[in-house]
C-alpha cells in the first residue's frame, strides 16, 4: 500500500508544485495520473520514488517512509520505468535488464539466479530473442519493453512509469498498454502479489483503455480521484484541461467518423 498524506512540494519557495495531496494506493490497482503540462504529475512520481527531499507531507510504502528508506530496500518495493531514452553506452539488452538485479547478490557480479530472472523478465515482454542485441539498435517500443522487463526483474510490486508511451507510434502505444494490462493481471515476477502500475499519461483514451483508477491533477492539487469510467468523462476532461465541451465534441466526432468508416 502506498499512502500519500498532506504532500506538498516546491522546487523554489515561490512556486509550489504539489499542494496538499492525499490518497492511498491499494494492491492490484492501475493508477492513471492525468493533468495538463506542469501540473506536477512527474514531480508526484518523483516524490513517490523518493527522489525528492520532502519537507512537508509523507509518502509511505508498505508502512516505510520513502525518504528515509535505503535505496536497496526501496528498489525491492518500487521500480521505475523512465521515459524512452538514449544511453551513452550501447549495452546489450540482457545487460540492461540485469541492472534490475544490481542490489542483489555479491557487489561485483550477477549470479546465475539473476541471469535466470532477467531472462524470464525478457520472456514475459516477449523480447527474449533480442537478449544479446545492442539496446540502442532496438525500436522505441522495444526499448520501452526492455525497461519494463528490467523493472520486472527488480521484483518490486509497484511500477512507476512516466509517460510510458511518449515517442511510440500508434500501434506500439497500444501494444505497450496491452502489455501493462496483461502484466497487471498476471502478477509479480515471483507471482506472489499483484503488480501495481502507477503511470502518467496525456491521453484520456489510454486511461480508458487501461481501466482501473484515475487521478486528475490540476495545479498540484487533486481535482478528481476515482474509477476511470467515473472520472475520465467528457466533463472531467474539459474541467481538467480547461477546454470547451464543443471542442471536445469535435475531437470525439472526428475520431468516431474515422472509426465508423473503417469498421
Amino acid at each position: 500500500m502506498i499512502q500519500v498524506s498532506q504532500l506538498s512540494f516546491a522546487y523554489s519557495k515561490k512556486h509550489p508544485v504539489l499542494r496538499n495531496l492525499n490518497f492511498i494506493i491499494e494492491p492490484g490497482e492501475i493508477i492513471n495520473i492525468l493533468g495538463p503540462n506542469g501540473c506536477g504529475k512527474s514531480t508526484l512520481l518523483k516524490a513517490i520514488l523518493g527522489f525528492l527531499p520532502l519537507k512537508r507531507g509523507l509518502v509511505h510504502i508498505n508502512g516505510h517512509d520513502v525518504v528515509s528508506l535505503r535505496p536497496q530496500r526501496l528498489a525491492r518495493l518500487l521500480s521505475y520505468v523512465p521515459q524512452m531514452h538514449n544511453t551513452p553506452f550501447n549495452y546489450q539488452v540482457l545487460d540492461v535488464v540485469l541492472m534490475g538485479r544490481v542490489f542483489s547478490g555479491p557487489w561485483y557480479k550477477y549470479t546465475r539466479e539473476d541471469h535466470d530472472i532477467a531472462r524470464d523478465a525478457l520472456h514475459r515482454v516477449r523480447l527474449l530473442d533480442l537478449a544479446s542485441r545492442p539496446y540502442q539498435h532496438l525500436s522505441g517500443g522495444q526499448r520501452q519493453l526492455v525497461l519494463i522487463a528490467r523493472a520486472l526483474a527488480q521484483g518490486a510490486d509497484y511500477f512507476i512509469m512516466d509517460e510510458p508511451v511518449t515517442g511510440l507510434d500508434y500501434s506500439n502505444q497500444f501494444y505497450l498498454l496491452e502489455t501493462i494490462r496483461e502484466l497487471s493481471a498476471q502478477g509479480g515476477a515471483q507471482k506472489t502479489g499483484k503488480l501495481i502500475f502507477i503511470l502518467t499519461t496525456h491521453h484520456p483514451e489510454h486511461a480508458l483503455f487501461l481501466g482501473g483508477r484515475a487521478l486528475l491533477i490540476q495545479k498540484g492539487q487533486l481535482l478528481a480521484d476515482g474509477p476511470v469510467e467515473a472520472v475520465v468523462t467528457a466533463q472531467g476532461i474539459c474541467d481538467l484541461y480547461g477546454i470547451k465541451p464543443q471542442f471536445l465534441d469535435k475531437i470525439i466526432n472526428s475520431y468516431g467518423k474515422q472509426y465508423g468508416m473503417a469498421c
Binding site: F51, P71, P82, F89, Q92, V102, W107
Partner: protein, 333 residues
C-alpha cells in the same frame, strides 16, 4: 570470458617479452633462455649473463613495471570516469587532476628544486584541483554531473594558467627545460624505491576500479535511474570518481603527465570487448598496460636518447583512436 582472459594474458606476456629484449644493451631471446636455464639449474653465471641479469632487474624490469602500472592505471581510471560522467569523451583529466599535478610539479621544480618535493606536490595539487572542482559543484543546489564538469573546467583553467605563470617565472636555462620535460612525461625517473611505495596503492586502485563494472553500468544510466535500481548514487559515484582521481594522480608521480591514454584506450577496448563495464574496465586496464609497454618499446627503439613518453602516447594512440572511431562508426548515432 575464459577466451578473453587467455588473449589478455598472451598480450601482456608478449609485450613484456618484447620490452625485455628491446634497449641499448643488446641481447636476444636465446641469451634470455640460456640465462633462465642457468638460473633454474643453479649453474654459475658467465660474465655476460651477470650483465644481462643486472640490466634486466635494475633497468628494464622497473621500467616495464612502471609502464604497465601507468598504462593500466590511466586507462582504467579513464574508463571509470567515462561511465561516471555518462560520457565516452571524458578523460581522467576532466576534473583537473592533470592540470593540478602540472602546477604542483612546476612549484616543486621552480621553488624547491627537489625531485621528491616535485612528486609530492604534483600528487597533492592534482588531488587539490579535483577537490576544488567538486567543491565548486556543491555551490549549486541540486547540482548535476554537468555542474561538476564545469567545476573541473574552471579548476583545470585556473591551474593551467598558474602553471604558465610559473613557466614564465622559471629560469629559462635550468628550471624551464626541466619543467617542460617533466610535463611531457618520461620513464627515465622511475626507480625501484618509488615503484615500491607507489606501486602497491596503484595496483590496489586498479583492482578496485576493475571490479566496479556492475555498479558502473548502473551509474552510467544517470542518477535517478540508478537510484531507483537500488544504488546509493551520490556516495558510490563519488567513491569511484575519487578512486580514479587518486589513481591518475599516483601515475603522475611515476611518469609525469601522460595524455590520451585515459581517453583512447577505453574507447578502443569498447570496440574490442563491448561497452559492458564489467568486461570493459578490466580490459581497459590490460589494454592500457599493453599499449604503454608497446609505446615504450617504440620510444626506446627509435632513438638511443631518452625521448619523452608523453609525446609518443599521443602519436601512437591517435591513429588507433581514429581507426577505432572509423570501425565503430555505425554505433555513433
Amino acid at each position: 570470458m575464459i577466451r578473453h582472459l587467455g588473449v589478455a594474458l598472451f598480450a601482456i606476456f608478449g609485450a613484456i617479452m618484447v620490452s625485455l629484449l628491446i634497449g641499448r644493451y643488446g641481447f636476444d631471446f636465446h641469451d634470455l633462455m640460456s640465462l633462465s636455464k642457468a638460473l633454474l639449474a643453479g649453474q654459475e653465471l658467465t660474465m655476460k649473463q651477470h650483465e644481462i641479469l643486472f640490466v634486466l632487474i635494475k633497468i628494464r624490469l622497473p621500467r616495464i613495471v612502471a609502464a604497465m602500472l601507468v598504462g593500466a592505471g590511466l586507462a582504467v581510471s579513464g574508463g571509470a570516469y567515462q561511465a561516471m560522467f555518462l560520457n565516452p569523451l571524458v578523460s581522467p583529466g576532466i576534473l583537473g587532476v592533470l592540470s593540478g599535478a602540472s602546477f604542483g610539479a612546476a612549484l616543486g621544480i621552480v621553488f624547491f628544486r627537489s625531485m621528491i618535493m616535485t612528486q609530492i606536490l604534483a600528487f597533492c595539487m592534482g588531488c587539490a584541483a579535483v577537490g576544488l572542482a567538486i567543491l565548486l559543484s556543491t555551490l549549486v543546489r541540486r547540482s548535476s554531473l554537468l555542474v561538476m564538469l564545469l567545476g573541473g573546467m574552471i579548476s583545470a583553467a585556473l591551474f593551467g594558467s598558474l602553471t604558465s605563470l610559473l613557466k614564465f617565472l622559471a629560469d629559462p636555462n635550468k628550471e624551464l627545460p626541466e619543467l617542460v620535460y617533466w610535463l611531457m612525461g618520461s620513464f627515465a625517473r622511475v626507480n625501484e624505491e618509488t615503484l615500491l611505495w607507489i606501486g602497491l596503492p596503484i595496483v590496489g586502485l586498479i583492482i578496485y576500479l576493475s571490479v566496479q563494472g556492475k555498479v558502473a553500468n548502473v551509474l552510467s544510466m544517470g542518477d535517478e535511474e540508478a537510484l531507483s535500481l537500488g544504488v546509493a548514487v551520490k556516495r558510490t559515484r563519488l567513491q569511484i570518481i575519487l578512486a580514479a582521481t587518486l589513481l591518475s594522480a599516483l601515475t603522475v608521480i611515476l611518469t609525469g603527465i601522460v595524455q590520451w591514454v585515459g581517453l583512447v584506450i577505453p574507447h578502443i577496448m569498447r570496440f574490442v570487448v563491448g561497452p559492458d563495464n564489467r568486461v570493459l574496465l578490466p580490459a581497459s586496464a590490460i589494454g592500457g598496460a599493453v599499449f604503454m609497454l608497446g609505446t615504450d618499446a617504440v620510444v626506446r627503439s627509435v632513438s638511443t636518447a631518452e625521448l619523452p613518453i608523453g609525446v609518443f602516447t599521443s602519436l601512437v594512440a591517435l591513429p588507433l583512436f581514429i581507426l577505432s572511431l572509423y570501425v565503430n562508426r555505425r554505433n555513433w548515432k
